[in-house]
């Protein structure tokens, strides 16, 4: 797969994975809220029309219907844009899914600012922060199409609530077919000693670009992919902080409450070192092509490299 497809949006991988695993897991059912063409659950619908349920533009009902299906022994994937699945339906997810710890999977597509032209109302930079506050919620934010497919199967095989975040924007395939995904395990993408870049989602690609830029200046950056934001791979985060002495987190999400927040919470207790956060600052998004917005909000490789140098300067 990796040698034929160079780029893929993780939402594409989500839809394909649901259709693929629908054959393997007979109790897999999929719900959508009138966005099946965009979330790509339409691929599943085509393959398994009897196990696909359109709830109409009614996300709150969808999440609670998923609860009832989970109670009935099914594994429901409830899908919508991140803004609506995690945002509008936060309370249904918290009280309906989280509190009773039901086996509901929430597929939030169109996460972050790379939604692009639709602009601020649809660019969800808060979903990871919201989901992190729910006890027992697992949060998966895959970095590419390969990891997205594996994350879907891992979520199927894990009993309990899982929030999966997928993107609209096609990004580089980073992993090959030998890649093994495990919930709760980060991946050391590249070794380094001067600064540790801890990235998630499409920012992993940008972090690797930053690493090359820094290498040209003689700076050695470690790069870690954190696909499971909760529970966080604390051992890997701490090991990188100890080795490099400073950390830069990167996410297509608010700098408040997401991966950066999670890493700071861990390191402040277990290995206090300077941490700088790359993400969307405390502002709403705006319309524009995804590629341009990545630079506009300082999420590109060059911006990450600059932040890394600032982090290194903070080391004693």
């Amino acid at each position: 797969m990796a040698d034929v497809v160079e780029k893929m949006a993780t939402r594409e991988a989500y839809g394909k994975a649901l259709a693929e695993f629908g054959a393997k897991y007979e109790n897999l059912v999929v719900l959508d809220a009138d966005l099946a063409a965009a979330t790509k659950t339409g691929v599943f619908k085509k393959a398994f029309p009897d196990r696909f349920f359109d709830c109409g533009i009614a996300e709150n009902d969808m999440i609670n219907v998923a609860c009832g299906l989970a109670l009935s022994g099914f594994i429901p994937f409830a899908s919508s844009f991140a803004m609506f699945a995690a945002g509008r339906s936060f309370e249904q997810v918290r009280n309906g899914v989280g509190y009773p710890h039901l086996n509901v999977k929430i597929g939030g597509t169109h996460g972050g600012i790379t939604v692009g032209e639709d602009g601020a109302t649809h660019q969800c930079n808060e979903d990871i922060a919201l989901m992190r506050t729910i006890p027992g919620m697992v949060i998966l934010n895959p970095a590419d199409g390969v990891e997205a497919r594996l994350a879907v199967e891992a979520a199927i095989n894990y009993y309990g609530p899982v929030y999966l975040r997928f993107g609209r924007y096609a990004t580089k395939i980073l992993f090959d077919e030998n890649y093994k995904f495990e919930i709760g395990k980060g991946v050391q993408m590249a070794e380094g000693k001067d600064v540790a870049i801890i990235a998630t989602g499409l920012e992993v690609e940008q972090a690797l670009i930053a690493r090359d830029l820094l290498a040209n200046e003689g700076i050695s950056a470690s790069v870690v992919n954190i696909a499971t934001i909760k529970p966080l791979d604390e051992d890997l985060v701490v090991a990188n902080a100890q080795k490099c002495g400073c950390v830069v987190t990167c996410e297509e999400h608010s700098v408040i409450g997401g991966l950066g927040g999670a890493v700071c919470e861990t390191l402040s207790a277990k290995c206090p070192v300077p941490v700088l956060r790359v993400g969307v600052e405390d502002v709403f998004g705006r319309s524009g092509p995804a590629k341009e917005l990545i630079s506009y909000y300082g999420l590109d490789g060059a911006s990450i490299a600059a932040k890394c140098k600032a982090a290194i300067a903070l080391k004693k």
Binding site: A58, D61, G68, L71, F74, H101
Partner: protein, 275 residues
């Protein structure tokens, strides 16, 4: 309905009401008004209508129940206790820090509770999922949910109403406790969600009226719900909030307040308990 069964259901409902008063008095908080209004409905549901087994609360083919108006947990707990799911004595621990009887239903720790609830507007949507799940499995169990008339002001109720009709969930029976009162006053004064019958009919439901305190009426209503094919059913159960305790009846103030010592004694006396 034969008189012997009617007497049994009446006595069970009386015990449920005693448990509601006892538990909210001991807790010094809770929601007696809306609990008392559904005591007779619970008596019918758990003694006649629903297929349940207190010795096997997770029985695969049991009928499912969701208390969408979760704040009336005292009614559900008292029903489950009197039906043998757990000791009646435990009702006295309601809302205490070390008790499993949480202020609102908690399916993780309370035998007989099929779904946690408490946040209004969500229960019928969960019941939709349960009813759809039963159909997908080819199972013939039925799904019941009690919601409040004030609760119907939550928009999600109407999302759920559309879903149930669209997917023809005729194994779903919702009971709307039409007691006419909510925290801020009579529902007609607060925001006026009525008429429920016309609204649900327009949403494609089989709508049945019933007297929430008359077992003959409830029997007919549940039979009509069971007989209806191709549509979900809703029983608009006309009730009296606080039913069975004179000073709580029809009173907005008893929505979420526990009786004090004197009120507790009077309430129990009215329910035929010699304190």
């Amino acid at each position: 309905m034969d008189q012997q069964l009617k007497a049994k259901l009446g006595e069970f409902a009386r015990q449920v009401r005693i448990g509601i008063i006892e538990s909210t008095f001991q807790a010094k908080s809770g929601h007696p008004g809306g609990s008392l209004s559904i005591a007779d409905i619970f008596s019918y549901l758990y003694n006649v209508e629903m297929n349940i087994d207190p010795k096997d609360p997770k029985m695969e083919n049991r009928d499912r129940f969701v208390l969408s108006k979760g704040h009336t947990a005292p009614a559900l707990y008292s029903t489950l206790a009197n039906r043998g799911f757990f000791p009646v004595e435990d009702l006295k621990t309601l809302r205490k820090t070390d008790s499993y009887l949480q202020g609102h239903p908690d399916m993780k720790h309370i035998p007989g509770v099929d779904m946690s609830s408490g946040s209004l507007g969500q229960g019928v949507a969960v019941a939709n999922g349960l009813a759809l799940g039963a159909k997908l499995k080819g199972a013939d169990y039925r799904v019941y949910a009690i919601m409040g008339d004030g609760e119907s002001e939550e928009g999600e109720c109407w999302e759920a109403a559309m879903f149930a009709a669209h997917y023809k969930l005729d194994n779903l029976c919702v009971i709307l406790d039409s007691n006419g009162l909510q925290i801020d006053g009579p529902i007609a004064d607060v925001i006026g969600p009525a008429p429920h019958d016309e609204k649900y009919r327009a949403f494609g439901w089989n709508v049945i009226d019933a007297d929430a305190h008359d077992f003959d009426s409830l029997e007919k209503a549940f039979a009509a719900a069971r007989a209806c094919k191709g549509k979900p059913s809703i029983i608009i159960a006309h009730s009296l909030k606080g039913k069975g305790v004179s000073f709580m009846e029809g009173s907005v103030g008893w929505h979420g307040k526990a009786p004090n010592e004197d009120e507790y004694k009077q309430a129990l006396a009215e329910l035929g308990v010699n304190a």
